[in-house]
Each structure stands twice: as structure tokens, then as C-alpha cells.
Symmetry: C2
Subunit: 352 residues, 2 copies
Amino acid sequence: MSRPTLALIGATGAVGTVMRELVSTREDIWGEIRLVASARSAGKVLQVRGEDVVVQALAPEVFDGVDIAIFDVPDEVSAEWVPIAAERGAIAIDKSGTFRMEPDVPLVVPEVNPLDARDRPRNIISTPNCTTLSMMAAIGALHAEYTLKELVVASYQAVSGAGVAGPARLYDEIEALAGDRSVGQAAGDVRKALANKLDADSPFPAPIAFNVVPWAGSYKDGGWASEELKLRNESRKILGIPDLKVSATCVRVPVITTHSLAVHARFEREITVADAHRILEAAPTVVLMDDPANGVWPTPVDVVGTDPTYIGRIRQAVDFPNTLDMFVCGDNLRKGAALNAAEIAELVATEL
Amino acid sequence: MSRPTLALIGATGAVGTVMRELVSTREDIWGEIRLVASARSAGKVLQVRGEDVVVQALAPEVFDGVDIAIFDVPDEVSAEWVPIAAERGAIAIDKSGTFRMEPDVPLVVPEVNPLDARDRPRNIISTPNCTTLSMMAAIGALHAEYTLKELVVASYQAVSGAGVAGPARLYDEIEALAGDRSVGQAAGDVRKALANKLDADSPFPAPIAFNVVPWAGSYKDGGWASEELKLRNESRKILGIPDLKVSATCVRVPVITTHSLAVHARFEREITVADAHRILEAAPTVVLMDDPANGVWPTPVDVVGTDPTYIGRIRQAVDFPNTLDMFVCGDNLRKGAALNAAEIAELVATEL
């Protein structure tokens, strides 16, 4: 058959940039690749597979003849345009939160639940939130053999999770504060120094340089941040455990890209560190870095820009039965976003 | 009676500097205040209570006539010198890890277990690790009414927890990297940029700018970091719960001063957010900042340099009975170190 046509919607954003790099460097199974963005970006010329491609404005006609459309756009844009793409015959792979929890839309991580991608009555497949995705390949591998019961997660989320404005703001703040070796030592001094040099317009609700900010997403009932509930609800759906117990606290940290998570995971039966090592060493998209006596564990600056999910600091919880404590890192723009969508597209393309 | 004589051992370090500020600004109950440090720092002139004081070299004679000696020195220095101070008649308040878990040495947080300070057969009182202390005033208040059963903690620890070399290194790394708006986007690029500009001698086992590092302390059996086991064992002793279940993952973050902790705490009976608010609002050394709908929660840049323990993001865990998720911040040099020692000294001084 002819090679499938791929459309990338939101091609100019942080994730879109990584997506263009991925389709240019992974095995090339695609026929035409269309780049689509808002009217503001239409007409721009961007490179894909070494060739110049003119960005088209989002319109119903751009989906004509498209086999697979990957959407990386805000929730409200997905809500409007994903059904239009699906109606016009494209399989829509959507990175937004809009359809993830709908019962007739599968939520897919190819290493964990690839078969779910086949059951897509609306021709829509969702890809999870970047925080959920940053741990899922590793947690899914452990679950497959030991059956997960509970997750308590604290996140260390990179600024690029907030889009291109996130790194821009952190670089701005670092430049504004660098050279002052007294800053960060008195209450409010970072705020004051930033107010003198930068405008107040930040994607973050507090200074992010020399700080950590315990908030990601929008306000939900009970004091939860939307990102924390996504991690709970999406983990349940991907793993197929409707009664999985999950508590998460999401915290933004001054890291450019790569989300990290401290994970406390209880399983149905006893699991040792050696058991976990055996499973994770065999998991094809997971890299085990777990030799703390020799300083070996993953950190964001060593993970960023790479595809796997990294895991280390695996300990059997002394006081909790059947429980491991772990530290997981994943590039939130790659496996956490563009890569997972590309992998779903490749998975679905094999059926076409 | 005459005012007690106080000796500060380790007066020139990061905590010693805060200690001198505290005894200079809190209610002045002291007679003579002696400053003591290593031979290398002896002869330096430092200010206390607005007066110049010459630093004395550590020697048995410096304890003659001393009522209370506060030690902020490395473990091995405490091991040698704390017993000498106690033998010479001083009550030794020790910030090191050396004596904390010894059964005949009380481990004291004045808000939580003040009476323990009275039972000190060796004339030694230990003050906890800064990570444990950063949450203990708040957790202790909740425990007093609802009885704590389990703690799962992930930390966001400031660089000054590693001593004066910690902030110096973070400022160095920030200065070396500031201005390069591509750094932090490819695996190893931060390491490479730092290797070109700074020497390899860091108090941290990985880059700390644009990074988080899942390691604090020394290697212990089972893959644990010493800081994680301290949090477990010290919490049990301070709270008087020998079978408290604790799992902790300790992570260093690029914050100058103020440790933060994501705390998942199970109690003996149901506790609502309103219950927690009532208790924490009444706790004299705790500041409740918990109105997330209006962006109110604590962050390190607003807490640093102040005395209280700050708490926010209090949520009733949806899936876990009797459990709260919370975010706690405390200045690791003040309540986490110097302030707690000063408060113990003041508590003990009232008995003299």
C-alpha cells in the first residue's frame, strides 16, 4: 500500500518542535507530512526530514487525505478540531486533556496497553499527561508481573511542561539573578530582585529560579491541582486498574526539561529490589541506573533529550509490606509528549 | 541567680552564623557568650549582640564555667568533644548525628517533646536533622490530636543543608551557565558547560543548577541514603511512636535555603482539611498558608530567613482512609538547625 499521510497539528510549539525532530530521525514510514498551526504561524517554513515545509493554517481541508493527525494544541482547540479531523477520516492522536477520560477514547502508552489502541470507536486516541507518562513505562513493567495496588507520588516537574514560555521564563529569571551572591537568603528577596528586572508575566504562579512551586495546573475540588488528579485518573485507565489508590503532589522545579518522580508503590505481593532490577533490565524502553553505592542514579541533566524512562534509587520500603520506593526520570517533551504520540502513530500505521 | 554562660562551638559555619544572629536578636537571657571554632578560625573577631568577640580554639578549657554549649560541628568532632563539654559541667546541645539515636540522649523539638529535655543522664541533648525538623512542628501538632501511623515523604532540600560550600557551588554553577539559553536541553550539556568553567570539586554528586539530585548523605544498606533513614528514625523518637511507618526519598534541589517536603500522612482516625486547619492555626510556631484557589501555599523564597514552619496544599487523600497530603516548608538553617538548638538552650536555661 502507499505510505500513510501524517499531519502534525501544533507544529510550532515546544512539543511540535520535538515531534518534527522525531519524525525526521526515526524510521521513515510516512508519505506526506503536513505541518499545521494557528493562523498566526501559517506561512512559516519549517524543516521536516531535511526538507522545507510551509506551515498551513488549521482548517477542515487540511485533514483531507490525512491518515493520522497528531494534535498538540490547547484543550479547547482539541475539543473543536479533533472531531473534525476524525470525521474527515483521519485517526486523531490527541495530546490534550480533552478526551483522555472519555470511555470510548483509548488512552495509550504503547509499552503498556498497545491493544487498547485498536478499540477506538470515535477514531480518537488520547496520549497521557507528561507527568503520568514520565513514569508509566517503568511502573507498567512492574505492574505486569506484581500487580500494582497503591501509588504515592511526588513530582519534580520541569518548566518546559508549561510550554515554550516555561524555559524562556527560567532563563530570564536566572539571568536576572546571576551574579548576586546574596539572593535567596531573605524572605521575598528573589521576588524583589525579579520585580526590578522582569515583567510580572510568568507562566508560573511564583518565582521559579532558586525556588520550588507546589502547584501545576488548575484548581480542583478538595484543594487538588488538576495535574495531580490527572496522574491518578490516567494511571488507573492506562494500567486497567479502576480501583488503584493514588495520591500525588505535583511540584514545579527549576529544571529545563525532564520530569522526575519519587514513587512509593505497593504491589499485591512481595517484590524485592532484585525482582525489580530483573524486570526493568528486560523492559526495552527503560534504563535502569541503580547503583547508589557508586553514585549511579538518574538526574534530569543526564536524561534530557533522550527517549527512555530512567529509574534508580529502588529500595524495599522497610516499614511497608510489598512496597518499593523509587526515583524515575523521563524527558517530558519526548516520552512525556511527542515520542509517545509518535509511537502511537507508528503502532496504528501498521494496521492501515 | 546569675545569667548562664553560653558557648557556641562551630561559630563560623553556615549554622553558626545564623546562631550568632539568633542570640543577638532573641530575648537576651545570656551572661557571657563564648565563640569557639577550629584552630584554623581561632583569633577571628565576630559580632554577637553588637559586640566584638574573639573566636577561641576548641580545647577542654573553653568549657570551664560554661552552663550550656551548643555544638554545630561534624559528627566526628562532636563524638570527641561533646562528652568533654558534658564532663566539664556544661549541658551539651548537639546538632550532629552522633548521639541522636542513643537511648540515654533525648532528641528534642521544643514544640513537640519539651519534657524529654529534662531526662538527660549524660548531660547531652541532641537536636534533629534539618530535614526531620523542617516538618516536625506541623506534623507534631497534628499527631498530638489524631495519632500518626504512617508517613511517606519526598524532600526538596536546599543546598545550604550541605554547609557553606552548598550555596557557593550553586551560585558558581548559576554564574557559569547564565546567559546560555540552550543549556539544559541535551543530555550532558550542563555537565560539559560546568567542566569547562568550574573545578570538579562540588559538595554535590551531580550538577545542582538546572537539576535535581536524588541523594543526600551517605550510602546505607538496602540502597538507602543516610538522610532518609534519619528522617525515619528521628521522627519515631521525637514523636514517641516506635512503630511509626516511614518511607522517605531525599532529593537536593537548586534552592539556597529552606527545605520543602511533600508529606503523605496516615492517622489513626479520620481527619479532614478543616480539622487540620484548626490545629495548625492554633500551633504557635506554624504558619498555615493554604488557599490554593487563590494561589496561597508556601514556597522557599518566601520562607527563607524566617522562623516558623509553613504548611499548605492540605488535601484529604481521595483513595487512602484517614490520610492527608501536604506541602511543608522550613528554613533549614533556622528551625532546621540553629533555631531549634537555641530554643532547646532557652528551655534548659529556665531550669538552671
